[in-house]
Point group: C2
Chain length 130, copies 2
């Protein structure tokens, strides 16, 4: 696909990806995609990332059921970062984080310390039982 | 600072940073920080990034005047990605992109093509004349 050729993949063949909830505007996750992950994301309409730790494609929600429906894809001015506008499915409110929280960005800097400021919505031990 | 030690810097001593406008919720930019950039960001209350292309610290807005006032810093679950909640200063509406647009994420995937869907708010030729 032409739209994949336009992207400047890094020296590992990856680009950073920001996932933002469409309705709330919340930034819920950051991950990476390679060419195949982006192609699958476009084809499925659901986020498929490249897991650097597991070294394989990762259909977000494949175990937890917390699939990300993709409404819109955006590319930045340098053609090397993607922004997804998504709906986080499988739980209300959405759970994007493997800790069971709404967003991965739940630690806020308060007076020089990173403090967890968002509640755990679901016990992670029950999230990956599928 | 302890809060810097908690961060998992990558093999180049960097972390990815997402800049989100506090009031609009718009994701306007993506960049990188090293330890010194983050320390300066915290001390100044304004975004200071590490420019990989120029290989130096980059106080965002130093030439354009489009400084990012930082209201809040967030860290993700893996301690390796930062999210800044900012106000984009120097123009109304804010201009974060070097192309003179509000956001760097102005290209939207439409039927297999990346289309520029946000207007240029200011001629870039006049942005860097300071």
């Amino acid at each position: 696909m032409d739209c994949l050729d336009q992207i400047k993949w890094d020296d590992k063949g990856l680009v950073p990806v920001i996932a933002q909830e469409r309705d709330s505007g919340d930034v819920v996750m950051f991950a990476w995609m390679n060419r195949e992950a982006l192609a699958q994301t476009i084809a499925r309409g659901e986020a498929v990332y490249w897991s650097r730790s597991r070294n394989r494609l990762w259909h977000k929600g494949e175990e937890s059921g917390h699939v990300q429906k993709v409404h819109e894809l955006r590319l930045d001015c340098d053609n090397d970062v993607l922004l997804l506008r998504i709906t986080q499915q499988g739980h209300e409110p959405g759970i994007a984080c493997h800790t069971g929280r709404h967003s991965c960005f739940y630690q806020r800097l308060d007076e020089g310390r990173w403090m967890a400021v968002e509640p755990v919505l679901k016990d992670p031990a029950t999230m990956y039982s599928k």
